[in-house]
Amino acid sequence: MAPVATLLQQNNPNGSCLIELLGERLELLHQRAIYWPSQCALLVADLHWGKDEAFRVRGRSLPHGVLGSDLARLASCINSRPAERVYVLGDLIHNRDGMSEEVIQEVSKWRIQNPIEMQLIPGNHDRHFPDLPEKWDIEKTSASIRVGPFDLVHDPNETTENYTIGGHIHPLLSMHSRNDSITLPCFYFGKRYAILPAFSEFTGGKKIESKTDCKAFAIAPKQVIPATGC
């Protein structure tokens, strides 16, 4: 069986890694997104827009800024590549509390500046707010869509016949040496599915188990690092 994902290039000046998966080239960005050149598409997962707002609405004080910073990072991905559309692999929003007027406005404004086509493959959090604001101009798809050789889903555990790409897990990778350990968000490529890191910086995550038949790429502040230990 062919290797799951082959590393073509690392240490790119922009911090990304280029890999090949089922004949498709994918660029893993340290901004926690995948750029797919043959489709001119960006893949992101678990944006959880309004999560910090949900905390505030429930009386848990948090400073503003998470959403703005996440949106700016997404814009930088869109603008630095010839991207024509963005596939959101679920959990675009966090919950109903977080969908305050301010959040809706902030995203609407951002959409005017970034009018790229956006498709949302709905995730478990998206059901809390089924009808997205019209101004956002984001199209909802079915729970799984076929693009090229892949099925794009939210929860990759609900496997289909094809190789799936999803999110949901918020994968983290622990890197250990004898006397040090660091935990970072990561991209994960297994035998049957791949998992994207959570795009939102205000999310925790789950450490993934090391297995020999998978590959993971850790996300350091300015670069993606192939983690052969996984």
């Binding site: 429930r58 004080s61 800024g65 690092i225």
Partner: protein
Amino acid sequence: MIEEWFKQKGWKAHPFQKATWKAQRNGQSGLIQVPTGSGKTYAAYGGLLDQLKDLKSTGLKILYLTPLRAMTRDLELALAKPLEDIGLSATVESRTGDTSSSVKARQKRKLPEVLLTTPESLTLLLTYPEAERLFAKLDTVIVDEWHELLSSKRGTQVELALARLREWHPRLKTWGMSATLANPNDAMAHLVPHDPKAVHITASIERPIVLESVIPEEITSLPWAGNMGLRAAKALLDRLDPARPTLVFTNTRNQAEMWHEAIIRAKPKWIEQIGLHHGSLDRDGRELLESGLKTGKIRLVVATSSLDLGVDFSLIEQVVQIGSPKGIARLMQRAGRSNHRMGEKSKLLCMPASVLHLLEFAAAREAIEKSEIEAIHAPHEPLDVLCQHIVTRSIGTSFNEESLFEEITSTKAYESLSKDRFNWALQLVASGGKTLNSYPDYGKLMRNDLGDWTIKQPKQAKRHRMMIGTITSDSMVQVRFLGGGRIGNVEESFASRLKPREKFLFGGKVLQQYSFRDMTLFVKRAKGGQASVPRWLGGKMPLSNQLANALRRSFDQIAKSAAPDTPELRTLEPVLRTQQELSHIPKADEVLFETCKTREGYHAFCFTFEGRLVNDGLAALLAYRMGQVQAATFTMTASDYGIEWLCPEPFPFQDIITKKPELFSLENLLEDTLESINVGEMAKRQFRGIARIAGLTFDGYPGSRKSGKQLQASSGLLYDVFSKYDPENLLIQQAQEEVLENQFEEARLRQTLKRLQSSRHIFKETPRPTPLSLPLIADRLTSKISTESLEDRIARIQKQWLR
């Protein structure tokens, strides 16, 4: 009146008791400093009895604060006894988190004449609209175990509550009780600020402590490093006997679990009479054990500092300390738990967990004889407690911000509080601060018609009352049997590391992980086999400065052949001779450095004997500064005694250390420390507690954890968001300052650098590790300090993979 009662009882009042009663009748305040178990309760209370005469339900006259709610029941009886005997109608009651709601409701109508309560319950009482009426007749506040409260934010909370009470009663009398203190003036100033008439009362009560070390027949059975010492357990087991009730103190919960298990394994017949006591165990179980100790049913308890304070166990005949004593005051406190009778000796048996502990015991004995105890420092101006207090003051009644500022700055803790910092805190709780003001929900206060501040909604008042207090713990997970029975708590990090079906030792039982969900760890009983022990945080307590001094003095005496002849030194003689032959024994004005080459690489050691925290900070600081002179990668280890730097390649340690005195400079200390240590990582943990105390985060109503599932974020995430989007937040700065002080004892680090500047440096290159350096080498795997950037660390980790 108290004199009569003493006569009735056939007791003779001690001079310090008489002195206190006299001062009380003069209307003075004061601080009573006497060893535990010398009768200070009746000293502080006796002179007040006259006031309770001929009372016609006046309400609260005497408020008695204690840090431990478990102690209130015994105290209640002790305080009620003289009233009953004399035939006074005044009532004594307690009010704590355990008091039933019907009693609480009755007390809210009228408080008893004598009320026993905790700092938290007092603050809570102050939030009721009827507080001023309830406290209208208050005459005296007695604060028990002031030395214990003083060192924590709970003490700050007491200071603020007292300031509130003094607003109502400018002539309020305050009496503190404490164990012997090194800085009594400071302790007094925090308790009774600006009162020139306040008196110190000390007693010349002799309660000699007889410290004896357990010396194993084979000194080789003691390890060089580590803190268990179980291989030599037999030496201690021979000294234990259920016929002589004994408290065995350890330094960590981990140690307590292991020793408890070892004793039971060796003496299965004792099982009914042995108990285990530590802070993670369920409170009901602990209380059962405590009452067993009192009645004599339980004869042997292995405990951590959870039993340092509290109820008198008059039956205890012997106290054992396992491992390093860590501090003189702490050791004396523990020794005082035996033979709670005046004039009797306290017997203390010290069991070494590694070889050099014997030297610590000898040093501690000398320090105890010379009464060299540690000074206690109160928190300085903690903003989180201030934020909480401002909200507390807005509930029940409103406050005027000018007079509140004056009230708060009348305390010692906040005497130098600037108006700016006060305003910042007020703005934070009132409107949510600069960054949070867009929602009505965050702002808790509003101005009323008079321009005073008051809480906005009853809902917020209710919420605030539930979170009053400054005791924070790491995120804890409940441990329960599958059937539902509660066993205790473990740290979340330990629970999440357990693999399914993994066995672990907890509360003296071997348990097996069954499932972990909703912050509850479900377990089953398991039979034997290999079991891990939860490694709780907090095992990092450093050697105190006084014990460190005493230890350095011991080395000085040994080096000058002037050491007193003690069993410990006789036992250690071969070890010390080896140290002298291979290297050197440092005198008081010397600091010893050793270098050594092994298979692992090039080692350098520095022996400061300044405690683990200072050495942790110093290791990273000096590595950073040495690295500035010549780039290198060091692996570092710190112990209570010293530091090890290990370098894979040759490194001119001696050259740099002797030729670069700026290595030990105090200049840029803060910047270099922040540069060399990833303070952020540690500040994250600290920040969670601060945010909770300040009321920024709310942990939710008890038992309603589930509902908050979508509102969970780890303390690390919260800290990241605050430090990135609200870096000016003073609470973030407080977290960093607390880390520097708590994690590295910054003030002591400065002292150590000064000593390093002024001491003679002795350099020895040794052919092999010495008795002093060996423990550091053995310890290395358990400690880590990194001075590299995240990217560098990743690169280094990857390099190891490739090997």
